[in-house]
């Protein structure tokens, strides 16, 4: 895998406030990485640092082999960026704005029509952007980020304002780019949505990186219990509770359902027991900790420290 973005103990201060503190990570081609954190956790600042829009107070940043703030813009031709709350000049049409940005990237204007088609703006391409809805502006923002088949895509809250169907096609596009070897870094609040799409998750809290890894790795580190929800055979809920031994880990949800929080090492044993001959069980659901749970866990453990 080729290295595309490299951050080494990067710190960024705005006056006395440290927006980002001692953050290091390396991203590679083909990775889809989710940058997760509260508002003000430093996600947008990190993206601006990677683009060279602001300079790091300490540490070093490398983007496609260059220092992005050094004033050499060769690397930026291969970078696509979608800012949070993207906006355009309302007086121009979608097609005009796209040809403006295409010229800045020295891209052929012929690439514009297919891109607009792909984000579903083909019909609105010649209308003034002032008449666009928020979702349409977001799609136009995505289209400009895709100009020139970028090797790195930085997407700040890309799915806000997109309806579910468009979200789906948005993630299809992301997948396609990463298959082609591009690095996609996306920040979002919609954690459940990212869970299946992002190969890697970086969790930020108040400017500090608190976790970094695949969702599976993070689950292993966090040691969060897997929730096993058992629907007992009719009227057998009490027997189902005792079937698994110590009732302390069991919660009765309702007349027919109990929940067990299983630590990672107990999980298999519990499942074996549940599938034994004569178990008073009608149905079983296994709910691994979601990205939401993991996120909450890492924030808590950092706050406690």
């Amino acid at each position: 895998m080729t290295k595309t973005i490299d951050l080494q103990s990067v710190t960024k201060r705005f006056g006395k406030i440290e927006a980002v503190r001692e953050v290091s990570f390396t991203l590679h081609g083909g990775e889809v990485v989710a940058l997760v954190g509260h508002n003000g956790a430093g996600k947008t600042t990190l993206m601006k640092l990677m683009l060279g829009l602001i300079k790091a107070s300490l540490g070093s940043i490398e983007m496609l082999g260059d220092d992005p703030a050094a004033g050499d813009f060769a690397a930026r031709r291969n970078v696509g960026y979608l800012p949070e709350n993207v906006s355009f000049n309302a007086a121009l049409s979608g097609r005009e704005i796209m040809s403006f940005y295409a010229r800045l990237k020295r891209e052929d204007v012929g690439a514009i029509a297919p891109l607009l088609e792909r984000v579903g703006l083909a019909d609105a391409a010649d209308r003034r952007i002032g008449t666009y809805s928020k979702g349409m502006r977001q799609r136009l923002g995505l289209a400009q980020a895709l100009l020139g088949e970028p090797l790195v895509l930085l997407l700040d809250e890309p799915t806000t304002g997109l309806d579910p169907a468009l979200r789906q096609s948005f993630y299809d596009i992301v997948q396609e780019l990463s298959d082609r070897g591009a690095t996609v870094l996306l920040s979002s609040h919609a954690l459940t949505e990212l869970e299946d799409r992002a190969g890697r998750v970086i969790i930020m809290n108040r400017g500090v990186k608190v976790a970094d890894g695949t969702v599976t790795e993070l689950r292993r580190i966090a040691l969060l219990p897997t929730r096993i929800r058992i629907t007992s055979a009719l009227g057998d809920v009490e027997r189902a509770r005792t079937w698994f031994g110590s009732p302390a880990t069991c919660r009765r949800v309702n007349g027919q359902m109990i929940e067990i929080d299983a630590a990672p090492d107990q999980k298999i044993a519990l499942l074996r027991r549940a599938s034994e001959e004569g178990a008073p069980i009608a149905d079983i659901d296994i709910l691994p900790p979601t990205l939401d749970d993991l996120y909450a866990h890492f924030l808590r453990s950092q706050d406690a420290a």
């Binding site: 705005f14 601006k48 683009l51 829009l53 602001i54 004033g71 813009f73 060769a74 930026r76 031709r77 970078v79 960026y81 800012p83 709350n85 993207v86 906006s87 355009f88 000049n89 007086a91 121009l92 005009e96 403006f100 940005y101 010229r103 800045l104 990237k105 923002g141 400009q144």
Partner: protein
Amino acid sequence: MRNILIIARKEIQEGLRNRWVLTTTLLLAALALTLTFLGSAPTGNVGARALDVVIVSLSSLTVFLLPLIALLISHDAIVGESERGTMLLLLSYPIARWQVLLGKFVGHVSILAFATLLGYGAAAVALALTGSAIDAESLTAFARMVASSVLLGAGFIAVGYLVSASVRERGTAAGIAIAVWLVLVLIYDMALLAWLVVDQGQTVSGGLLNALLLLNPTDAYRLLNLTGGNVSALSGMGGISQTANLSPSSLLAALTAWTLVPLVLAALTFARKEL
């Protein structure tokens, strides 16, 4: 270079779309035509050549109007785009900040030059069509007036950029732009005049007066257009031009400096700005 032209082209495109170009041209043309025909009424056919009268009235108009138009276009250029969020996206593209600024400058000056040329040109054409005799000398003076008007506008565009790059909010930029206009166009001359009257030639020497006149682009513009040849007799500026004795080239240099210095300062301020 190509980046500068791309930005300039977009500025012009936007100017056409939001009717800046149209309104400015129409405004200048309407005022120029009004002044041409009202202004020539009192002189009748005696002595003064019609185009010279127009030069005097148009340059008096320019001194007030072009700085105002220039500041209106330019005060928003950087802070407005930053506030709307379009600057962030633009700067993530392979383009340097000074190129953005210079591209805007080329675009805005083109808009202003187009409007001035067309608007004032209309006055000259109207005079010619109504049968006034226009000789080569007046025509040269007229061309010089149009060109220096654009240069004066360019200076105020650059000043507007400096204001725009220095502040954090659009409202502040607008306030400062109005203050700059008031000071340079109105208050400076009144204060200078008051001082000269009170002083009665005690401390203000010719050299100091020269320096003070060069320190204000509108004064440099006035001296450049209202003191040459036939025009000075009409404009009543003959008196001051004899005391001030500034050569046209030094006046032009002052106007150019008023363009370049704020532009460079604006580029430096913009380069340091955190987005």
